[in-house]
Amino acid sequence: MSAPAYTVRTGTRASRLFGWGLLALLVALVAAPLWADRGMIQDLFFILTMLVLAQFWNLLAGYGGLISIGQQAFVGLGAYAMFGAVIVWGVNPVPAILLGGVAAVLLAIPTAFFAFRLVGAYFAIGTWVIADMARLIVSQWQVVGGGTGTSLPREARADMWGVETIAALFDMRAAAARDVLAYWLALALAIATVAGIYALLRSRQGLALAAVRDNVEAAGAVGVDAKRMRWSIFLVAAFGTGICGALIFLQNARIAPDAAFSVVDWMAYVIFIVVIGGIGRIEGPIVGVLVFFVLQSTLSQFGAWYLMALGLLAITVMLIAPRGLWGVISDRTGLQLFPIQRRLYGGRIAKETP
């Protein structure tokens, strides 16, 4: 008998259909300034930036097994680096966003060096301690307003790349055009983030990441460099989180240490989104951020009760559906929108339809 041929496939019929649907959705989102009012643009901006933060935390915790509770350090430092570059060096705010990412990586290097020596809960606490130290240090930086914070200078706001063009294009005021600019940047960042993480998970490195998460010892025994994997995703997550932080405060146009390094806004909500949606799946944060947005817009007026309700909901989901809402959906339907599983077909394998 001749040697049977095997093929490896990742996609499913549902995922290919979804791909087309996604493309249509993206076109609609790019065209949002045509059909959405300013309030909706701001809401979409909020959803997209929270999605980016959640995707990076999911990469760390869900794929890398690195449960950091200090990602607000990178949001805050990214935002402050952007403000600093604008105020001190007169850099245009749009390219200064990238400097936010660079600053976050520069902080992530010593953070990883310190926190990777800690395991489990101590790792989490270590990252949080470093985030709070970063907040305290930035509060001493007088050029950007010290403990009370500052606003983006008027000239910088006026000169922001692209604002004039957008204002002319849609015939809108500068403030609304700035929102559109921030929204488009957030959309680009979200697409790059989801596409980048998806590509990573489908690559050889994605397999290594899963192996390290499932069993570090065995991963080492088959030649995977666990340390390098952890370092790279920690730095990548810091870079993306820093850029996202800079973008959030570019849109905000005002910054203060407590807001920029907020553990509730950039950590508790983000963890909520990932846990509710489903950890360790790309679809998870997408479902989670939509649920979170609905809750936020209907319940946030209730203040402390709202936070307690979020906490209770998160605990309930963790107990009933540990793999989140997306876990329930995909278990019931077998649906995978971003398939990463490599399936072997042909040869001596019983026939299966891809």
Partner: protein, 239 residues
């Protein structure tokens, strides 16, 4: 030439000496069996050879290189493959993906280049029907096979097997022996820890007996099994 050589290797856990001044060598292409009572330090010896656990004293040479302080990952790349006594699958990955990780990283090849080879290993180890099943859902027997398959996927020059025959039916055991003989015939050096003595003696050229971390006998399997010291230790297991 010996592919593996241990010289005066010792390991302590607190007051307990688990590996006590162990020295032996395995010539390339040979198979060495390791036996000894529970807790004798057999699995620990593997952990020292693979680098999963650091030695306290002594040296380990692999293929003429001193690997005593080399990280586990590099030893794998150099050609040391192992199975774990308690299976350690990557549970969220499928059986096929478990092998892909081992083949792609253990040999430093792109994923595309290893798929066909992984399928072949799955056929040889009887796991091909389970290729797309999540490893976390396998039975104990299948997990043990996966341990062997994953180690084979790295194409090791030295294969360390830790109790993979326990719990098999006679038929399954015979086919396992065939598989291991095939691997040996292909030139792979094998060190095999096993309590199922007849499986071991069907494959190995020499037998090493470990007790309380010390070597109490090494040599021809028949002679070893005749020695009074070994018979005393094994009286309860296989009289």
């Amino acid at each position: 030439m010996s592919i593996l050589a241990l010289q005066g290797v010792s390991k302590r856990y607190g007051a307990l000496t688990v590996t006590d001044d162990v020295s032996f060598a395995v010539p390339e292409g040979q198979a060495l069996g390791i036996i000894g009572p529970n807790g004798a330090g057999k699995s620990t010896l593997f952990n020292l050879i693979t680098g999963n656990v650091p030695v306290d004293a002594g040296s380990i040479m692999f293929d003429g290189q001193d690997v005593t302080r080399t990280p586990a990952r590099q030893r794998c790349l150099a050609g040391i493959g192992r199975s774990f006594q308690i299976p350690q699958p990557f549970s969220a990955l499928t059986v096929f993906e478990n092998l892909c990780v081992a083949a792609a990283f253990g040999r430093d090849l792109p994923e595309r280049a290893v798929a066909e080879d992984c399928a072949t290993v799955l056929e040889r180890t009887g796991l091909i029907g389970r290729a797309n099943a999540p490893a976390g859902g396998l039975s104990l027997l299948e997990r043990k096979r996966l341990e062997l398959a994953r180690a084979l996927a790295t194409h090791p020059r030295l294969l360390l097997l830790d109790e993979i025959a326990g719990g098999l039916t006679d038929g399954e055991c015979a086919s396992l022996i065939d598989t291991i003989l095939e691997i040996k015939a292909a030139g792979t050096t094998i060190v095999w820890i096993e309590h199922v003595l007849h499986a071991l003696t069907a494959v190995v050229d020499r037998l090493l007996v470990l007790d309380f971390g010390r070597i109490i006998g090494i040599g021809d399997p028949d002679e070893i099994m005749q020695s009074p010291e070994v018979r005393e230790i094994y009286l309860g297991i296989e009289a």
